[in-house]
Subunit: 526 residues, 2 copies
């Protein structure tokens, strides 16, 4: 099969981190090595930003029912506890402050603000090659969360997460083709001062990858200092504002139907600083959100629509991601269950509401309840990730590495998740039906003239790299081969790949002058 | 929360095997025990035969293109190597035998036979409670395959599968709520005589469960003896023909576009014996089927349409399952890859073709390439199973227990698969949007009058058992609780559940007189 592969081999590009593996040269192993070498971006079977939307968790009629109920909730229940600045902004646009202190939103106001809201948001990478186009049903997978533990798979223990852990997760993400952005996934628990934590979070994230970064500032008063950091990285405020490469995740509401005062002010500051925002409503069905899945979506949509009013009344067309993130409780215990089928449905239903509004949307998928990267983790992460992608969710947050219902982050799971997401992305890409692909020419040749099989047929060779994706770690050997190669353990392979990536990555990804400036201005723990 | 649960507890029904677990009584554990006790069938959050179809891997236009291409293939390429009896049957109906020995099918013939084909097939269980209604997009999950190994998870070895293994897999399946039928998953390699293997396969399958059983007879000459066996189990031929509880999987074609002579004659014999048949086309994309996914589906559809002509020309309306099972090759090595995204897409695309024809359909999903029940196995099995279900595939074959791309069957994986399929089925059920579920009454109470959360709200309690599914083995503890309970290992829990099921199951599920009759007439290895 080699001849037809040569042209492909000529177009190889380097992956962000060229992982040099000790492969036997020549023979079958050599051929496999050539075939598994990275393809040019335009020839790859999967890419960031492929279009989903083949799956609709809700019928059109039910989308409308949820939309109507959300408008009704905004008009009649409204949200309490907006900060004075938010009250001024939103009443200025037409929201009504009741005697009970709740802001209510006439539906005409919501519709006007939906019309103003930016539809074609791009989340920039520090390297433009990693820009994320959130239009339509384009799908991107990445990390997120606020795990307080790192999972040590070798000792099966949960330990406190540190700035160094976050940095390593960022560096690993930089090397993974199928993880498209890096949002802060862990809390730097070794950094005690809250401002320093925000700064070190930025350093860890931006220092490890030039993909788009997400963070979540802890206090409105930190924004100015954090912007100094980001301007230094960007090379000035103008450069930052032209291509803001960090977005801020704002838990601007505390469900049910309450604004989070401090987070709202943080959001206002981020908007003034030119930072894209994630309007995050993270209710928990059965606890802080209604238990029926449809009503949990209604509440999340209502809360995020309030956020759309807030943002667009303040800064029309400011880039914002519609962040309906309803979570699931295990109603027996009240504990969160991110790995449940109910969670997958909530996320898929939300993605469909985003499509309905034509707004860039994000939600959580890929969370494992399992403590370790075991079979349970695999089925939990895959179910919600594939449903999110097929729903056309623009930003699939928390899609890799997350265990114990968001309490633990696992580096080996992140590495394995890259393989999982490769297969998931293949599913999102779907079945290409073209004149060529339903042509019977090859079938005619093979059946009527040829050898009676398609092995080595030019049609087969033409699609083997562009339509089929091959895993990096996942095992496809026969039982016999598996014995011959020593029955490799999946988690051990993940540890090895993790170490290979960390050994070979260049860090930090700041030029020395910038790095020195950052270290002079801030207390960097890394 | 107990008061509202008492009425539910009163309606408890026994699962097929009541698994008595050593639970601490009283307190939280006691409450959890009540809440996890089996619910009455009509109250369960998931059931066999729920309707999928929310996901469409193919657009309507592309479904038509594939249909047209398949008709074209039948008309112009046709199939070779039909047995003389099949040639007689099919040319009698209007198929044309060419000088090249190929049977070609005018499209009018295919359309006429599609009109005759039975749409509302029921596959019976020996116990009518397990009947499978294959109408519409009703989804059922079960086993299948011809694995030649059993996976021993404790020693991480693959050993030859035996009749006893098959019997145990059947017994375990009988106890699993979310595995709806038991098709022969392993070859009884300890039974050397082929007729005795067919008989012992029937004994192992039917002796372990009263759910619907699938088998695959190895030789046309065995059918008469096997029907004696089945008549004995049924209590006579009339009883058997009234409710045939075993279907036969016929690999009636050897792709590409060739009939399998002997298997065709076996199929004819099964049809005469009143046995439902699975028209199985198991090409391998890139090897025995075209590599582009769309063309692989075209070929599988064409072959199964030839099967529809065959069956309905011989016995109009005979129950048959449209069994497009295209598999995937890893094109680097030629090895099968059942765990790939491409496989999930092939199966989903096929399910949509079944919907188009309105015929009961089956395909393969849930296959792991991984050798063991690890994280890779989890994501591989979940991805294709959830996509198959959301596609509305009537019969999801090979959905649990299958490893090494069908070469190995794993009992622990079967047990874990029950949990996985529970979550998958929850996804298939979808989001209920009713007047109640989008009512804002609860939200109003909670936000405007109540405690500000939904915990313990009557709405929450009303859905906690009927809309949420809880896993049996999967872990949802917090990291702290997980340490307290000794960091249980998932596979060890599966071993324990497997042993509990086997310890407590009554076997064989034949009355003593029948069992004695079977043992007198046949050489039973079990």
């Amino acid at each position: 099969m080699e001849p037809t592969l040569e042209p492909l081999a000529d177009t190889l590009i380097e992956a962000p981190v060229a992982e040099k593996q000790g492969r036997r040269s020549g023979g079958r192993a050599g051929r496999v090595a050539v075939r598994t070498a990275p393809l040019a971006a335009n020839l790859r079977p999967v890419r960031p930003g492929m279009s989903g939307g083949q799956y609709s968790a809700l019928s059109e009629a039910n989308v409308l029912r949820i939309h109507e109920a959300a408008l009704d909730a905004l008009e009649t229940i409204g949200l309490s506890q907006a900060p004075p600045s938010g009250i001024e902004i939103m009443t200025g646009a037409g929201a009504i402050l009741g005697d009970d202190g709740r802001l209510r939103f006439p539906r005409a106001l919501v519709e006007d603000m939906l019309a103003l809201a930016k539809k074609d948001v791009v989340l920039h990478g520090r390297d433009p090659a990693y820009d994320l186009d959130l239009s339509g049903t384009r799908v991107h997978y990445g990390t997120a969360g606020a795990a307080v533990h790192v999972v040590d798979v070798e000792t099966r223990t949960y330990r406190e997460s540190t700035a160094k852990d976050l940095f390593e997760a960022s560096r690993i993400t930089h090397a993974l083709d199928n993880v498209h952005f890096f949002q802060r996934a862990m809390v730097c628990r070794d950094v005690v001062d809250n401002f320093e934590m925000d700064i070190n979070t930025l350093y860890a994230c931006c220092g490890g990858t030039t993909k788009h970064v997400g963070t979540s500032f802890s206090d409105p008063s930190h924004i100015a200092g954090c912007m100094d950091f980001l301007h230094t990285v960007a090379g000035g405020e103008e450069a930052w504002r032209a291509r803001p490469f960090v977005s801020n995740s704002n838990c601007f509401v505390v469900p049910p139907m309450k604004f989070a005062e401090e987070s709202c002010i943080t959001m206002e500051n981020c908007i003034r600083a030119g930072m894209p925002v994630l309007l995050l409503s993270a209710g928990q069905a059965g606890a802080t959100a209604p238990a029926p899945l449809a009503t949990a979506i209604v509440q999340a949509v209502a809360e995020c629509l309030a956020g759309v009013v807030y943002v667009n009344a303040m800064a029309p067309g400011h880039p914002a991601v519609f962040g309906t993130w309803p979570f699931v409780s295990d109603l027996r215990s009240g504990a969160m269950s991110g790995g449940s089928g109910e969670q997958a449905l909530l996320t898929a239903g939300c993605a469909q509401m985003h499509r309905f509004y034509g707004l860039p949307g994000g939600a959580a998928a890929g969370i494992a309840d399992s403590k370790l990267p075991d079979m349970q983790a695999g089925w939990e992460q895959a179910t919600s990730n594939v449903m999110a992608g097929l729903s056309g969710l623009n930003m699939v947050y928390e899609s890799v590495g997350m265990h114990a219902s968001l309490l633990g982050f696992c580096m080996e799971s992140l590495v394995l998740g890259d393989d999982m997401l490769g297969q998931v992305l293949r599913c999102v890409r779907g079945i290409d039906v073209t004149e060529d692909s339903v042509s019977l020419e090859a079938m005619r040749e093979v059946c009527l003239e040829g050898p009676g099989h398609y092995l080595g047929h030019s049609q087969t060779l033409s699609v083997m790299q562009t339509e089929y994706i091959y895993p990096v770690l996942a095992d496809r050997t026969s039982p016999k081969e598996w014995v011959e190669i020593g029955k490799p353990d999946l988690v051990q392979k993940a540890i090895a790949r993790k170490n290979r990536i960390l050994d070979q990555s260049t860090v930090p990804l700041f030029d020395p002058v910038t790095d020195a400036a950052l270290r002079a201005a801030f207390n960097i723990y890394i």
